[in-house]
């Protein structure tokens, strides 16, 4: 009798265990486990010498910034306690810091640590690559008291707040930097191989070209404690192999899934496909000073002659958003200028070309990279085919990336380039970085990134003004006005912003793919 009873109890138990996970109960976060992320490229450095997103996404888990950019494009405090206060002349920015936070090495996070970090980047001798872009307008930094930092600006520069969300301005432990033997340009060696911050995960191991391992920071200060035991980034360079490793369950997340694989993967019950649009805009720039592109009608004609929607749907398998402005959504200061982009209208294109004196057709050369952006060569081929219908005979020319960068970066009087495809990621999350660096006439190549030699004094003036506007609404309106002019002037063939296609196994919960091209696993956990 007692044996039968025991059997019944055991059976009930087994049934309960078997049934429970299948009920699909609301997900209660579970602690433990190792999340493995497969990506195509390794990081180069995990220090303030970082310069690319494979660096940034790992740093973000280890070292935190004063402010944080939400995926919706809102700026919220992180290591700072509240939003900063600006002096009436907008020349000083005062930031209150959270207290009671410690770095992973046990040393306190305070104003002195923040000042040390910023001073290091500001010192030109240290040659931090993003100094000019992120902190270019900061003259000096004061630690007013243990929990207050003041940034003194050369001139009013409102985008600074967005820059403070950037992972390359994350606060590292000054003591740890010194203990590691400092940071040397160009890549912050030797500290760059063993970073120490305040973040939810601590650095554990880095085998170059193979993997980076982080472990849970049990003393994390934030309200949401990290749940995973470990996060591992594995380098799996081949797209196909990365997808197979995901299907085989050897990794949980595969970044940059090729568009051709998504239909097949969508049928796999063990996976989901995450499509997050990124802040990277892809365009074909025209040399605005050189015929035929020194005529705005020609530039507009190209925009009318290409069916951007068709390219996004077919060539990119839906993993793209047709540009409706020079920058993408998710950026502070973005607003859509023309829904759906320039309409596809071959007749209008032909008419504009005829008005510009090219009724008999026009010959141009378009340069494009191969393998740098999603399906870049295929997009270029589609553009070429569509241009033909409008009487435009485009010759495609490709070049390996390193040569491509140099070739498109020549001064206006020397460059042979007529038009070229490039992408721009507005990674600071602020319109200033996406517009000033590209469209302001002070930024002509090779000094700046205006490699297409666009100049419009009105745009210059608006972009200058917006840098000093503290009123968010007025600033947004100013950017809108500037973007409307840029859109009409059509210095580019506006194409699309890329979507990040990420394959994720079903058991992975609360993983975030950020528009700034990073996998964010702060709150991620594994359902078992």
């Amino acid at each position: 009798m007692s044996r039968r009873l025991a059997l019944v109890i055991v059976a009930a138990f087994v049934a309960a265990v078997l049934v429970l996970p299948a009920t699909g109960a609301p997900a209660t976060p579970q602690a433990g486990g190792t999340l493995i992320i497969g990506r195509g490229a390794d990081s180069v450095t995990l220090s303030p010498y970082a310069s690319a997103s494979p660096d940034a996404e790992v740093i973000a888990h280890i070292a935190e910034t004063l402010y944080q950019l939400t995926p919706e494009g809102r700026i919220v405090p992180l290591l700072a306690e509240a939003m900063p206060t600006l002096s009436p002349d907008a020349r000083t920015m005062t930031i209150r810091l959270r207290t009671g936070i410690r770095f992973h090495d046990g040393t306190p996070f305070d104003a002195a640590a923040v000042k040390w970090n910023f001073d290091f980047i500001l010192n030109p001798d240290n040659r931090a690559p993003f100094r000019a872009i992120l902190l270019g307008e900061v003259a000096s930094v004061d630690a007013v008291d243990a929990r207050t930092v003041r940034l003194n600006l050369r001139r009013p520069f409102v985008p600074l707040l967005a820059h403070l969300t950037h992972d390359f301005l994350a606060i590292h432990s000054p003591t740890a930097v010194q203990r590691a033997g400092g940071m040397r340009p160009p890549t912050g060696e030797p500290y760059g191989r063993q970073p120490v911050g305040t973040g939810p995960y601590r650095f554990r191991e880095w085998v170059r070209g193979d993997r980076i391992v982080l472990e849970r920071n049990p003393d994390y200060w934030g309200p949401r404690k990290p749940l995973l035991d470990q996060i591992v980034w594995r380098v799996i360079p081949d797209d196909g192999a990365r997808v197979l490793a995901l299907e085989g369950g050897q990794i949980h997340v595969a970044v940059r899934v090729p568009p051709r694989e998504t239909t097949r993967l969508a049928l796999n019950q063990a996976l989901r496909i995450d499509r997050t649009s990124s802040v990277r805009t892809i365009y074909i720039a025209f040399n605005n000073q050189k015929p035929p592109f020194n005529d705005v009608r020609v530039r507009q004609a190209f925009n009318y002659a290409v069916n951007k929607r068709a390219i996004a749907q077919t060539v990119l398998g839906g993993a793209a958003r047709v540009s409706d402005a020079p920058i993408s959504p998710g950026i502070v200061g973005y607003s859509g200028i023309q829904a759906g982009g320039y309409p596809y209208d071959v007749n209008r294109a032909r008419q504009l070309l005829a008005e510009a004196g090219h009724g008999g057709g026009v010959n141009v050369t378009i340069l494009h990279p191969t393998g740098r952006y999603v399906q870049d060569a295929q997009v270029a081929a589609a553009v070429q085919a569509q241009l033909r219908a409008a009487g435009i005979n485009a010759r495609l020319q490709t070049m390996e990336w390193a040569a491509y960068l140099s070739f498109t970066n020549q001064p206006p009087d020397r460059t042979p380039v007529e038009s070229f495809m490039l992408g721009w990621g507005t990674v600071t999350g602020d319109a200033d970085y996406g517009l000033y660096s590209l469209f302001h006439s002070s930024q002509w190549a090779p000094a700046g990134f205006n490699r297409f030699f666009y100049r419009n004094p009105q745009v210059d003036s608006l972009l200058d003004q917006a840098r000093a506007m503290t009123d968010a609404a007025r600033r947004a309106a100013t950017y809108r006005e500037a973007m409307e002019i840029i859109w009409r002037d059509a210095p580019w063939l506006f194409l699309h912003s890329e979507s990040q296609v990420t394959g994720v196994r079903r058991e992975v919960q609360d993983l975030l793919v950020h528009p700034t091209e990073r996998i964010v696993a702060f709150h991620a956990w594994l359902r078992r």
Partner: protein, 306 residues
């Protein structure tokens, strides 16, 4: 013999010097600027100039070469422009992995290729011969990418027998070495077959048969040893190729070896790594050639290097 080997090793010095000059010049004449790549496409010209200067890339090329040579003689190959890691450390980590993969692959290749070649030669013009040669043709023609991904699909994703990536244990070695060894196996099989066919037509083989020796003894003892010389050459060259040319396999199986390192470095214009890796590969080829020559003497008593 020893004097000969010593002479060969000394001869390697001008070879490596020549290689270093060619590589040094070549990487600097191809378009593309490491400072620009390192600074990122968004960097200002000022930052790029600073980086170039800090890397010593603003110096005349002859000065740069003199520095390189001086440091190389003391065993210092410089540091990676990108990671800042010493080149010797990077190569020291990567090369043993590639060696492990290449040795396993050549083992697979010889294990399949030599018996297949012998089988084919002894059954000359039979259906066995035809099948082996068709397989060999397929072996050299199959793209490494296709083969590697399909092996992963079957043995890793479907059957869960083998890991899809990584390099830590012997299990990680199985699929990549089959992938990498297949083409070499095919080449070795063809070479073994033709060498064997030639030897089997020789008088001494006919004599051996006439003595009434078993066919197995004739093939294994009289014919094979004499046929091995060209086979050893091919195996040696294949091993050299595997050590330097495993890029595709290393990419498919995420095997962080020297082939992948070299390609990444070329794309990034990481001059010190390119120079170091090419020198190492050249030295490996020279070394393998000496080993192959020495093996001849062991296989064929008539060969003497005096």
């Amino acid at each position: 013999m020893w004097r000969y080997l010593l002479k060969r090793v000394l001869l390697a010095i001008p070879v490596l010097l020549g290689v270093s000059i060619v590589v040094f010049a070549m990487v600097r004449f191809i378009p593309g600027d490491p400072a620009q790549i390192m600074a990122g496409q968004a960097a200002t010209q000022e930052v790029v100039e600073q980086i170039r200067e800090s890397l010593g890339l603003d110096q005349p090329i002859l000065v740069q070469y003199a520095y390189f040579l001086r440091n190389a003689l003391t065993g210092d190959l410089g540091r990676s422009l990108f990671s800042g890691v010493p080149v010797s450390e990077e190569l020291g980590q990567r090369f043993p992995r590639t060696v492990r993969l290449a040795l396993a692959s050549i083992f697979v290749a010889a294990l399949i290729g030599i018996p297949a070649g012998i089988l084919s030669a002894t059954r000359h013009l039979s259906w066995v011969d035809s099948i082996v040669m068709i397989l060999a043709l397929a072996g050299v023609s199959i793209p490494v990418f296709w083969l590697g991904l399909n092996l992963i699909l079957v043995f890793s994703v479907r059957l869960h027998w083998m890991p899809a990536f990584g390099y830590e244990t012997w299990r990680h070695l199985v699929l990549p070495s089959i992938t990498l060894g297949t083409a070499s196996a095919a080449i070795i099989a063809r070479m073994t077959r033709s060498a064997m066919l030639e030897v089997l037509r020789q008088d001494y083989v006919r004599t051996a048969r006439a003595k009434g020796l078993a066919e197995r003894v004739v093939v294994n003892h009289h014919a094979l040893r004499n046929a091995l010389i060209p086979v050893v050459t091919v195996v040696g060259l294949q091993l050299g190729a595997l050590l330097s040319g495993a890029v595709l396999t290393e990419t498919v199986f995420s095997w962080p070896g020297i082939g992948k390192l070299l390609v990444d470095s070329v794309l990034a214009r990481d001059y010190p790594i390119i120079q170091g890796a090419v020198l190492l590969i050249a030295a490996t080829f020279v070394f393998l050639n000496v080993v192959v020559d020495a093996t001849y003497a062991m296989l064929d008593p008539r060969i003497r290097y005096e």
